[in-house]
Every structure is written in C-alpha cells, then in structure tokens.
Amino acid sequence: MRTTMRGRLAAALAVAVVAAVAVAGCGGDNKSTAKGAVTLTLWSWVPDLQQQVDLFTKAHPNIKVQLVNAGQGAAEYTKLRTAFRAGSGAPDVAQIEFQLLPSFRVTGDVVDIAPYGAGAVKADYVDWAWAQVSEGSAVYALPWDSGPMGLLYRSDILAKHGIKVPTTWDEFATAARALHAADPKVYLTNFPPNEGGVITGLAWQAGSRPFEVKGKTSVQVHVDDPGAVRMAQFWDRLISEGVVSTDPDFTDEWYRGLNTGRYATWVTAAWGPVFLSGSAKDTAGKWRAAPLPQWSGGEQVSANWGGSTLAVTKQSKHPKEAAELAIWLMHDPEATKLYTTKQFLFPVLKNLLSSPDFVDQKFDFYGGQQVNHIFSQAAQQVDVAFQWSPFQDFVYSTMNDEFGKAIGGPPSLVDALHAVQQKTTDFAKSQGFEVG
C-alpha cells in the first residue's frame, strides 16, 4: 500500500508496539506454578518439533514447554531483537543459526550455559560445530544441524555431453565451458548473487577467514583476503565468459531452472539433497551427489552453509531448566535420531554421522545413491577456526548489495569483495569496535 509518511511510520511503530506486546504476552506465563512446575517458552521454526518436545516433557514432568514458531530466520531474529530491546518478551530458548550466534552474543542476549552442564557433551559433536558455539570453556548454544557443502549434479546431462564429474575447480571451469558450448541452454551451475551463505561457504573452502573476533570489543576484518579473492576471480571469469548463469536462488525462476535442466549442478549443502527432492520432483532419479570440487587435486576441504543452534536467552527466569531443555533436545539419542529421519536435518553428533541407519540410507531421487556418505565425509572436512562477525546481518545485507551490483554491472566480484571490506570496516568502527 502506498500510504503517507506519517501513516507509514506510525503503522510501523504501531506494529512494533503490538508485536512487543504480543511477544510479551507469549512470555507472560513464564513463571513457576504453585506445584513447582516450570513453564518454558521455546522459539523454533523446525517443522514438527512438537514430537521431540513431547518426548522431553514426558521425561521431565516438572517442566512444561510452550513451542512457538516465531518465523524462520530473519523473521524470528527481528522479533527476538525487539524483545531484547524491550527488556521482556523473549523466549527462554531460541533457535539461532550459526552465523547469527555471535551477533546475539555480542549484545549479551544469549547466556553461557556451561555452568548447567553443557560442556560435558562437547566430545559428542563434530569439532567445527562445537567451535562455532563455544569460546574456551563457555558454551553459548548447542549445535543442532549443519550444512557441510557438496555438489549435486545431473548425471544424465553430464553423461549426454561426455563430461566427467569435476573434482577440482579447474576441471569445473573446463566442464562449464564445454557444457555451455555443447548446449547453450544449459549451464554447468548457477552462481546466485543474492546468497551470502553460499558465497561465504565457497570463500571458506578457499581458505578465507573473513573475521577474527577478539574479546567483545575487537574484530579483525579480512573479507577480501587471498582465499576470498581467489574464489571471486574464479567466478568472475566464468560469469564474464557467460558459461554459468547468475539467477537469484530460491525464486520461482530458479526452481523451474532446477526442474527443467537449466542447471546441471547445484553447489549446495547437506540439507540440499532432501530439499531438492521436494522442489525438483520432475527430475527424480537423475541427480547424484559428489564432494565439492577442490582447489588443488587430492585435497579434501569442505565448508559449511546453514545450520542452527539452540541458545538460552538472558531473559529466561529459569536458565537451569532452559539449559536442560536445550541440551536434551540437542543431545538425547531418540530425539536427535528423529531429526535425521523425520525432519531430515543433517546431524552434528558424531554417533549419528557414523550410524549406518543414517549414512547408508539410499535415496531413490539420487538413483539409490547413499548421498549421506558424501556429506558425512564433508562434515569432517570443515575448518574449525572459521568465525562469523558479531554483526553478520549487516555483512550479509552488504554482500547482497555489492555482489548484486557486480553481477548487474561493470564491477567484478573482486571489486565487490573490496567494497564489502570497506563498508564492513566502517560499520565496525561506527559500532565502537576496535578494528585491526
């Protein structure tokens, strides 16, 4: 609707007020009842989570859990931030993606749950995932699922044109040129300019370490470090040659592209296989999975794109019970197994990653291939030291803008990296950080 300025502002603020009141209402029954039973509020957008919550409450009769779907990703974060800002209304436990966890940590809105026993389960998780949620002995969340990266490809299209599955990025570039020359309607892959997650993942694999956070007030910004530049130059070349497409992903056009064989591969993460089988039904049986192409032959390096954690908020009046809920939901054998079989989340628990039930599962969509083999291996190949910035929303939104400009116009992806570096540095300084 086109409305007047004041109307708009008033409406926006009115919505904010109503939302704040509404979320305050959600947290309102956050108090002990006479019998000593505790009610916790849990925000998550994972579908059918109620079944795991029911298992939890069965095992913990004195804790009641109110499960709320406050929206996925950014939608939930907006509400969380409003509640944190208002000082009330936040849930006891909230789902937060890996890349956003440091942004909530820096504002002190998630609490260290190591005092409630979270440190004891450390050894059960893959190292990099644990590194993402902890700092020293402090534990700010428990990892839920992840997205180690790999390559999904159309075996029929590659076979038709006699193209081998690329194992290095050099082979990938050669294959991209050959395939597009053989069939101008087909691209070896699509490079989505709007997807900070996948671009960061690709840079991560190339050795980029964009941020180094020291304490709470100091951050080093290296968005355009050599790893990232190497990755950007690679894609710059393929894009300028016109042998890969640059459609924004998760749009109607992109889904059709996947369904109709416009893209012969999808550079994706471990949650990709199940997602794809739901969104490109027409191509069932034609896809296969392979490891991510490598920068040097013989290497085995992957990266991560996606995945969530469960964190306890500082507004929780029952941090002990809240931590118990988070730990149990992320660690109980029955509950966590259900995530892999019912919700198809890619696990971060070592025992699940090596469990035959999970790894050996055959997928008809992939011609009976045991795709989890590929991604379980990738999960072991993710660098532990990678860090996110404490203002990742800003970084992603700036990446969207700058990479978009680079795709649409004269600047290159390398230029875009420099621009993101500059803007992020300025932003960090304006937010009071010491920038190294």
């Binding site: 409305t3 300025m5 708009r8 502002l9 459609d247 924004p248 969207n400 978009g404 009071g432």
Partner: protein
Amino acid sequence: MIQAVDAAVRDREARVARRPAGRGWAWRRRATPYLFIAPFLAVFAFFLLVPLGYALWLSLHADRLVGGEVFVGLDNATRALHDDAFWAGVRRMALFGVVQIPVMLGLALTFALLLDAGAVHLRRLFRLGFFLPYAVPSVVAALMWGYLYGETFGPIAQLADALGASAPRFLGPGLILFSIANIVTWEYVGYNMIIMYAALQAVPRELYEAAAIDGASGVQTALRVKIPLIAPALVLTTVFSIIGTLQLFNEPQIMTTIAPEVVGSSYTPNLYAYSLAFRNQQVDYSAAISFVLGAVVFVGSYLFMFLTRRRGRA
C-alpha cells in the same frame, strides 16, 4: 409519530428553559465536543505522537554494539543529509515520479472521462475492471508481475523464445524502473480513476447543457468544462501520488529477491530505512533517515501545491 417528536422537542425545550444557565452548564457545553473527540485524541497521541516522539528520540542517539547508547544530537541527521545511498534513492524516485505520475494520472483521467461521457457500454463492468487491480495486495501484484517479467521462464520470455526472438530484460538495469512503474501504474490507475470519476459525477449537468448549446464538441466540453471543474481532485490525486512515489516500498522489496543485481537495499528511501532498521540493526540512523525523508515528502508535496495554487490564481 411526528406529533410524538414534536412533543419530545417541546418537552426538552421546556426542560432546558427551566435549567439554570450556570457556569457548570456552560463549561459542560464547551467540554462536550472534546469529550467526543477524546478517544480519537488518545489513539492519535498513543499511536502517532508517542511513536513519532520515540523515533525522534532514537534519531538523536546511537546504539553501538560496543559502548551502548549515547546521545549524538544531530549527528545521525547530518549523516543522512550526506548519505549518497539515500539521495540516490530520492533522485531515483523523483525520476520515477516525473515519468510515472503523469502517465498514471493521464490514463486515469482518460478512463474517468470516457466512463463519465457514457460512451461506453457495460460501464459498470469497465469501472470494476479498472478498479480491480487496486484490490490486489501490492505484494501479490509485484509477485505476479515478477513472474510475468521472468527472464527465462516468464510467459513473455517464453513467447519471444518460441518466435525466435529474445524478450527485453524487464528485470535488467535498463528496464527495471520502467517495470516497477508499470506495476504501480497497473495498481493505481483504477484508484485514481474512481476519485476523478466521483468528482465528474458531482459536476452539475446544466453546465454540459450550456456547453452543448454553445456548440461545444465532446472533446471541448471535456477539456474546457470538465477538467477545470475537477481540478481539486486532480491536485489531490497528484499529491497522493507524489507521497506514494517517495514512499515506494513493497514493489521494490519484492524485486530485491528476484532482481538483486539491480534493486539493492537502498533502491528507494523507504526500503533503505527498512533495511537499516531491520537488517543492519541501525534503528537510530534509520529513524533519522525517516525524518529526513518525511521532510523531503513534505517539501515535495508543498511545492506542488504551492505551484498549482499560484497557477490557479493567475
């Protein structure tokens, strides 16, 4: 019935006459209207003045991730005044408005005149047909047009492909502003048409008869009689359109997902304010941007009204 009412009135008059005209009564009489508008004032204050005040307060502060909230006075406003991204958005919308508003209002006026002239059969059907897009939520409209504009699988692209041609890149850098203008025009022609049509309906019919007797043709009547008489409605729709243009949000917001190469987070000033507040966590700076934008809208609208009023007097 009438007698009963008469009786009631007489009775009331009698009672009023009997009542002493004391100070309390006078005070009450003066207070009554305020009592009636009090609910509105309360809502107005609570949902408009208070939030506006809060936004103003925000705009004078900076909430830093390190160091927390500090008073910065007019720093944010000064920064907004020198913010290239913001002014690029304002200029883009000015260009958009200069082209789109005349086209949209011209179409609306033409349709309104045609409907009013009675030259059309099935007038109601056309009226409804023109107005219908306005009833489509703008988010839905933008999604729908986004599909039509699709560069690979959109129907226009498919048709061009079948004919061996290539469709224009509606979502490319060259055409995107036109494509958004087209969506907005499609949405609001009917709305503006209804306002103008209503104004035309209120014009006394004798004037047309007089014009006809003077030998004016249909076109002359439209240009010399009808349009001057509905000038206030034209000014009103133009002012609404200027405000709406500078506030453009939904359509470009949808376009950021399907055309991220062209439509960035600061494509329109409103989108910029939104991105700052809800994506970059710079609520305070966003508030400052909103106030500067408010000033731009006010100046733009006032300037237009000032110019038209002067011309009207001349």
